[in-house]
């Protein structure tokens, strides 16, 4: 186990390193630079040159990269175009996206898990078809359009919910929830469909497995078989698979935050790209990549604990 863990951590570090190189190179490959973005309407050549100098953009790229990584290793991600520390900016914006993601997953779980269980248990029956088809519809609706439709319905027509924006939880929990409801629902529906399908197939697997058969043979009630044994085992699979959906979750958050005007992590990233805010962009993407790496590391570890064979075979797709 120790060797396995070390190997996985080593691989994670390699992934992080490659990610840092990619984001650094990618940021520099975008035409125009931060000096041009910050140059103002006048684009005074002297000012632009001074900005380049200030951000060290006149140094060779490898020098810039090493300087950035060196500082990043000490925990200093540099300052963004607002002259605020990147670390601070990320820390203040991340909670919004975490809240959005958390609520979305909650909604997804509340819809997706029961639907998946029912569909599996009642396999081939009308309720299975209904649940499967609804899940397919859920997968077929673009987030951004669902967002627009909800805004039309609940904000423009009915005036029940705000069209966008964000109120910090600490300021007003009720308002916070009202602002988060539509975005979380938009992001959650897509995932509920994914969850439902994963749950259904995992349940089908469990229900067909030896231990469920044994449990049934022992004369346990159907409720105990399905609810306790099959469900619990399926849930583990689903959760581990979900850990790998972090990237999809962030992508979903990007567009959801866009529609609802929430200043979260996704918006921050996109703003950083258009502003050529190199240190911010690099910091943000690195944090996202690190999050993914940690999540998949956790998945690997959990999975290998549950299923020792995997240490040889590799991770489930």
């Amino acid at each position: 186990m120790g060797g396995f863990l070390l190997r996985k951590i080593g691989a994670a570090l390699v992934v992080l390193f490659l990610a840092s190189v990619l984001v650094f190179a990618g940021a520099r490959a975008i035409p125009g630079d931060i000096a041009l973005a910050l140059g103002g309407e006048e684009r005074n050549p002297q000012v632009i040159e001074q900005i380049r100098e200030k951000y060290g953009l006149n140094d060779p790229l490898p020098v810039q990269y090493v300087r950035w990584v060196g500082l990043a290793l000490t925990g200093d991600l540099g300052r963004d175009s607002r002259e605020l520390p990147v670390g601070h900016t990320i820390v203040t914006r991340l909670p919004l996206t975490l809240e959005l993601a958390g609520l979305s997953l909650l909604i997804a779980a509340l819809i997706g898990l029961p639907a998946g269980v029912i569909a599996a248990v009642r396999r081939g029956k009308p309720s299975d078809y209904t649940a499967t088809t609804i899940a397919l519809v859920g997968l077929s609706i673009p987030h951004f359009w669902l967002g627009l439709v909800l805004i039309i319905a609940f904000a423009v027509e009915l005036h029940w919910l705000p069209a966008g924006g964000y109120v910090p939880l600490s300021e007003d929990p009720v308002e916070n929830l009202r602002h988060m409801l539509m975005p979380a629902f938009v992001l959650g529906t897509g995932f509920s469909a994914v969850l439902m399908r994963q749950m259904r197939s995992a349940m089908l697997d469990s229900l067909a497995s030896d231990y469920v058969r044994t449990a049934r043979a022992k004369g346990l009630s159907e409720w105990a078989v399905v609810g306790v044994h099959a469900f619990r085992n399926s849930l583990i699979t689903v959760v581990t698979v979900l850990g790998l959906q972090l990237g999809a979750l962030i992508s979903g958050a990007v567009i959801t935050e866009q529609i609802f005007g929430i200043a979260g992590f996704g918006r921050l990233t996109v703003d950083a790209i258009t502003q050529r805010d190199y240190s911010l962009l690099q910091g943000v993407v690195l944090v996202a990549a690190a999050g993914y790496v940690v999540a998949s590391l956790a998945v690997d570890v959990v999975y290998s604990l549950l299923n020792p064979r995997i240490r040889v075979g590799g991770r489930p797709a």
């Binding site: 975008i30 035409p31 125009g32 041009l36 973005a37 910050l38 140059g39 103002g40 309407e41 006048e42 684009r43 005074n44 050549p45 002297q46 000012v47 001074q50 900005i51 100098e53 200030k54 300052r79 963004d80 175009s81 607002r82 002259e83 605020l84 520390p85 900016t89 203040t92 914006r93 919004l96 904000a155 423009v156 005036h159 705000p162 069209a163 966008g164 924006g165 964000y166 990007v254 567009i255 866009q258 609802f260 005007g261 200043a263 918006r267 921050l268 996109v270 703003d271 790209i273 258009t274 502003q275 050529r276």
Partner: protein, 528 residues
């Protein structure tokens, strides 16, 4: 999101800065209504301000925030005249115009409680002039030295006479920062800016909000009613308007034209407006072959660069009145030149056909001898710019000109424009009070923003003469001639002037919007 950001970057540049003309409906409607003490005013900003450091700041929205927490030596009044703010009176200028003496008010304290004295003012002015990447350095370039004389007087020595100095000191170059805070934070002043102002910086959440709270140190604190102002960044124009209607925000900076009708219908809201002295138009790459400033400019060889007739045809094909109606819902002011009709420098005698002349446009196309003329138009990626681009495309098509739209993310388009890597570029200018600031940089051979790569010795001479001329009448005559030269040769085709419209809730009183387009809510409050 691309479009969102380009709205933000694009508008920041396109709309920023000054505008003139008196404002309708902006007044302190407070007379007779009692202002309640306290409350939080929420202002929706259309873009995110950049660094909250007066030396480094560059955005229009940043100036709105500074208005409430960083006072300047001078300010503008409703008539756009310069009036003292931190200074006790207008500056005294020596006979040779090289020494400017400024007296400060008494009893000024920064929002950290430390006193503002002449030494503090000198420190800030020197920082504006010397800090790396200072945006103020060029604004104060003619200043040779700053001396503190006693506790209340500063003396500026100039390299050459510089009449616009007071105007500069009425903007960010005149903001004085707390020396104690500068000692503490240095170049990181923006993390927690401390100035003299009715409100002091409380917090900033990047991309989301900036909060300022009533200052206990402000010299006129009894005039301040609000406890707190929250500046919220809402990039999406429809979201901003909906937040206003829903009551989530009290003021919206620059409403989108598509939202005006709904805001007007709402009896709890009102609209205040100010006309910009900037312009919006199409820059045509005539001679920018190797990049901006790489002289001599030589014709780039595209059909639109080579054929003045084709440029004229494009100009004639665009119905500016219809553009206003279709794209902007009738909320801009159509125009043909670099100087807005609201400007005292505007020359009414220069003819301008705001409608189109399709027959002439078609004739010009055939006379140009260009077969199937095709023009690439680089434009922004936001919804409005795309609507506008498609409108121009459709109008040009009727004249037989095929316009290919190239929506380009804003910073990339700047790069391309500077590199000369474009045919035509839909961009504007926020405008300056002096006509020189709206013309020289763009069309003079030496112009720092001459992306058109336009070089015309006759125009250069007119513009140089106008800079040196002393009498206003003489300058006005020269600028009229210059505008006519530009209108004939069309390195730029001017389309319209913007009109700033802010949305305000009816229960907000004392909020002011002058011709500079900045929201002034220092002394605003809510009705009882």
């Amino acid at each position: 999101m691309m479009k969102r950001i380009s709205v933000c970057a694009g508008l920041a540049l396109a709309l920023a800065a000054a505008s003139t003309a008196a404002v309708t409906g902006a007044g302190a409607r407070g007379t007779g209504t009692e202002i309640r003490s306290g409350g939080t005013l929420t202002i929706a900003l259309a873009e995110e301000p950049d660094a909250l450091d007066p030396t480094l700041a560059r955005t229009f929205v940043g100036r709105i925030v500074f208005m409430h927490m960083c006072e300047k030596l001078y300010d503008l009044n409703r008539q756009l005249q310069i009036v003292p703010q931190l200074a006790a009176s207008l500056p005294k200028v020596s006979r040779d115009k090289l020494t400017v003496t400024i007296r400060l008010r008494t009893g000024l304290r920064f929002n950290d409680g430390t006193p503002l004295n002449a030494q503090a003012a000198k420190i800030s002015l020197d920082r504006h002039r010397e800090l790396t990447a200072s945006r103020r350095a060029s604004e104060l370039a003619p200043v040779d030295s700053v001396q503190a004389v006693g506790n209340r007087t500063i003396v500026l020595k100039l390299k050459q006479p510089f009449a616009p100095l007071t105007a500069q000191l009425a903007d960010r170059a005149g903001m004085i920062m707390s020396p104690a805070q500068l000692d503490k934070l240095g170049a990181r002043f923006a993390q927690e800016p401390v100035c003299v102002g009715p409100f002091r910086f409380a917090s900033r959440t990047a991309g989301d909000r900036i909060v300022v709270r009533k200052s206990p140190f402000y010299y006129a604190r009894n005039r301040v009613h609000l406890n707190e102002i929250v500046f919220r960044i809402i990039n999406e124009p429809s979201a901003a308007a909906q937040s206003l209607r829903a009551g989530d925000v009290d003021v919206v900076d620059r409403l989108a034209s598509t939202e005006l009708a709904a805001v007007r219908r709402d009896k709890d809201l009102r609209i205040v407006k100010a006309t910009s002295i900037g312009y919006q138009g199409i820059t045509i790459n005539i001679g920018n072959k190797r990049g901006l400033g790489k002289l001599p400019y030589q014709n780039v060889g595209t059909s639109i660069a080579s054929s003045a007739l084709l440029r004229e045809a494009l100009d004639a094909a665009i119905d500016r009145r219809l553009l206003n109606k279709v794209v902007f819902n009738g909320t801009v002011q159509p125009g043909c030149g670099p100087i807005a009709p609201v400007s005292p420098w505007f020359d009414k005698t220069i003819k301008c056909n705001l409608s189109r002349d399709m027959a002439r446009a078609r004739r010009l196309v055939s006379r140009s001898g260009v077969r199937n003329p095709t023009i690439k138009l680089m434009a922004n990626t936001d919804a409005v710019a795309l609507r506008e681009g498609q409108f121009i495309q459709s109008q040009a098509r009727e004249a037989g000109i095929n316009v290919i739209l190239e929506p380009t993310e804003f910073v990339t388009s700047l790069r391309k424009a500077d590199d000369g890597n474009y045919e035509t570029f839909r961009i504007g200018w926020s405008g300056r009070v002096d006509p020189d600031g709206n013309i020289y940089q763009f069309v003079h051979t030496q112009g720092s923003l001459n992306d058109a790569g336009y070089s015309n010795p006759r125009l250069d001479k007119l513009l140089d003469d106008a800079r040196a001329a002393t009498s206003t009448a003489e300058r006005k005559r020269l600028y009229s001639q210059a505008v006519q030269v530009i209108r004939r040769n069309r390195p730029l085709i001017y389309l319209y002037h913007q009109v700033t419209r802010d949305g305000v809730k009816q229960n907000v009183v004392g909020l002011q919007l002058f011709g500079d387009g900045l929201i002034r809510a220092q002394f605003a409050g809510f009705t009882r």
